[in-house]
Symmetry: C2
Subunit: 337 residues, 2 copies
DNA sequence: CTGAAAGCGCTAACAT
DNA sequence: ATGTTAGCGCTTTCAG
C-alpha cells in the first residue's frame, strides 16, 4: 500500500518526532499559525530544514478539499492562439500560487467532455477554451464542471463567466480598411466550418455587406492553417479579388508564401490581411496587416474570473468582450489601378 | 474541514449505500477487479451511473501513492521550441493516461528549482526542459526530483535520462552548406550567453573553423528573439558577411524582416539560415534554410523515458542524441560575385 | 498553547 | 466473493 517501503519520503510525523512535538503543532507551524510558542516554532522549523521536509501536496489537498490547481482544456496545443492563451492563464495563476494542468483535445471534440471531467476531478476549476462541442452538450456539462470559465464561447447558464472576442467587429474593421484603400472586390478565406469564431466573422461580414452594397464580397472555403492558405492561392486568383481577408494570421502567411511563389506581389497586386496578430505577424514579408486580439490578456482575465469563482463563489464580470485592434502594416495597400 | 457542507460531491460511500454493498466492493468494481459477482457489479455500476459518481482523483492519489501526473518545467512558454516540446510530452503522456502540469519559469533561473520542487510534490515525476541553472545546482537538485528526465541538458548523475540535440553538428552542417555555396565570410549571430545550446553551437563552429581555415567566421552578439535578429541588421551589414548563421529561426526571421526593410535582398545579396525548423520557417519570404530539430519527438521521447522510470524504476536509454537535419530552402543561395 | 483524535475519499490487506 | 478495517499525509476541531 502506498509507496515502496524503501527510502520513503519524510513526512510530518518524522518532523514531529524529530522536534519532539505533535503532528498538530508541526502542521500549525508549517501553515504559519501564530498561536505557537516562538521557541517551539523555531525548533520545528529547524527540524523541518534539517530533514528537508516539504509538506506533501496530495495529503494537503485531501484534507483541505482544494488542490491549488486549475485545468485548462484547449482544442489544439499546436495553435499559436491557444499557446498564447495558455501562457496567459498559467502566468496569471502562478502569481496567485496556482498551477495549471493542461488537457489537449487535439481537435477531437468528442474527447472534450471526458478530458474536462477528468481534469476537473483533480483540480479546483476548469477553463474551457473554444470548445468545439455543440451548445446542448456544453450546457449539460456545466453543472459537473463548475467552477468553470469559458473562453470564446458563450452560455446562458448562470455562474459561468465567459470571455469573448468580437471577431465580427474585427473582420469588419479589416474589410473597411480594404475598401478605404480602394478595393472593391474582396474575398474572405473562411475558417473551419464548425468554428464558432468563423461564424462570428461571417456575421460581421454580412453587416459589412449591408453597409457597403457597392463592394463585391466573395466567401471562399479555407481552413485555419498555413497549408489552407497556401493551397487557396488558385481560388483567390480565380476570384479576381484584389483584397483578401484571411481567416487568421496562419492562413494569411500561407497565402503570402503561395502568392510569392507565383510571383504575385503583395500589396501591389493583391492585399492580404490576417487575424489575431500572432508574434510572427510583424515579421512576415511584407509585415502583415491584421486585427490584434489580446489573447494572452484574455488568458489572464480567465484566471481572474476563476479566482473570483474560487473566492466569493461568484464573479462580477460574467461576460467580457475584447475588441480586436486593427494593425495596419505592409501587406495591405491601395487597390491596383 | 474539507469542502463546504452544502451540495457535497457524491463519494464512494454514497454509491455503496445506494447499491447496498460495502465500500470495498464499489472500489473493486470501479477498478475492474474481476473477483466480484457479475450481478453485484452490475448493481454497483448502475448506482454509480445513477448518482453520476466519479472517483475522486485526490483520494485515489493519496491511497495509491501516485497521481498519474507529471510536471514539465520550461524556461519560457512563449518560445515555440518549448511549446512544441510541451505538446510532444503532453500528447504522448495522454496516450498512457497521464496528465501534464506545467511550470513556466519565465526565464528566471532562480525560480527553476522552487518550481520544480513544488511540481514534484504533486506529480509522479518531472521533466526539466533546458534548465538555466548552473551544473552544481542541477546536480544537487536531482535526488529530490527523481524520477526526472532532462531535455537539452546533461548530468553525470546516474538514473536521470537526458535527451540532447546535437546543435554543434547542426550548425556545422549549416556552415558547410554556406561554404558550399561559395560564401567565404560568414557571421554567427549568437544566442543568449548563458544558453547551453548556444555553447554547443560555438563548439561546433570551432570545429568548423579548424576544418575550414580559409573561411572568415565572425561571431556577433545576438539573442533568441525576433527583436534580437531585427536589431542586429547593422552589425551584420557592417561585418561584411555574405552568409549569416542565426541562432535560431526566430532570430533569422527578425533578420529577414530587417534586411527586407533595408532593401537588402535574400539570398541574392546575403544568405540567412535559422535553426530549429519551427512551423513558420517554411512560410517566410523567402522560405528559411534551417536545421530541423524534431523537438516534438524529443518531447514524446521524454515521456517514454519517464514511463520507463515510473515502471521498472530505470530506463535503458540514458542518453539520447538527436541529429538536426539540414533543410535547404530559399533563404540561402550562391554568394554574390 | 499544545496534544489527541477524527476525518478528507479511496485502496488493499486481512478476515470471513 | 464480500465485508471490515487500517491506513495514505495532512488539517482541524475539541479537550486540556
Amino acid at each position: 500500500m502506498g509507496r515502496k517501503a524503501a527510502n520513503r519520503r519524510i513526512g510530518i510525523t518524522d518532523v514531529a518526532q524529530h522536534a519532539g512535538v505533535s503532528l498538530a503543532t508541526v502542521s500549525r507551524v508549517m501553515n504559519g499559525n501564530l498561536s505557537v510558542d516562538p521557541d517551539i516554532a523555531a525548533r520545528v522549523r529547524a527540524a523541518a530544514t534539517e530533514l528537508n521536509y516539504h509538506p506533501d501536496a496530495v495529503g494537503r489537498s485531501l484534507a483541505l478539499g482544494k488542490t491549488d490547481t486549475i485545468g485548462v482544456v484547449v482544442p489544439d496545443l499546436a495553435n499559436p492562439t491557444f499557446q498564447a492563451m495558455l501562457r496567459g492563464v498559467s502566468r496569471a495563476a502562478a502569481q496567485d500560487g496556482y498551477r495549471v494542468l493542461i488537457a489537449d483535445s487535439s481537435e477531437v471534440s468528442s474527447e472534450e467532455a471526458i478530458l474536462a471531467g477528468e481534469a476537473r476531478r483533480r483540480c479546483d476549476g476548469i477553463v474551457l477554451c473554444a470548445p468545439r462541442m455543440v451548445d446542448a452538450e456544453l450546457d449539460a456539462l456545466i453543472p459537473s464542471l463548475h467552477p468553470m470559465v469559458l473562453i470564446n464561447r458563450n452560455t446562458e447558464a448562470p455562474g459561468t463567466p465567459s470571455l469573448l472576442v468580437d471577431y465580427g467587429q474585427g473582420i469588419q474593421a479589416l474589410a473597411v480598411h480594404l475598401t478605404g484603400l480602394g478595393h472593391s472586390r474582396i474575398a474572405f478565406l473562411s475558417g473551419p466550418p464548425r468554428s464558432a469564431s468563423n461564424g462570428l466573422r461571417l456575421q460581421g461580414l454580412e453587416k459589412f455587406r449591408a453597409n457597403h452594397p457597392g463592394i463585391e464580397l466573395t466567401v471562399l472555403p479555407g481552413g485555419s492553417s498555413f497549408e489552407a492558405g497556401h493551397e487557396s492561392v488558385d481560388g483567390i486568383l480565380a476570384s479576381g479579388a484584389t483584397g483578401v481577408l484571411a481567416f487568421n494570421d496562419l492562413v494569411a502567411m500561407g497565402l503570402l508564401s503561395g502568392l510569392h511563389e507565383r510571383g504575385v506581389r503583395v500589396p501591389q497586386d493583391i492585399s492580404v490581411t490576417g487575424f489575431d496578430d500572432i508574434p510572427f505577424a510583424e515579421y512576415t514579408t511584407p509585415p502583415l496587416t491584421t486585427a490584434a486580439v489580446p489573447i494572452t490578456e484574455v488568458g489572464e482575465q480567465a484566471w481572474h474570473r476563476m479566482r473570483d469563482l474560487l473566492g466569493d463563489g461568484a464573479s462580477e464580470n460574467l461576460r467580457t468582450t475584447f475588441q480586436p485592434d486593427l494593425q495596419q502594416r505592409g501587406s495591405s495597400g491601395p487597390a491596383p489601378a
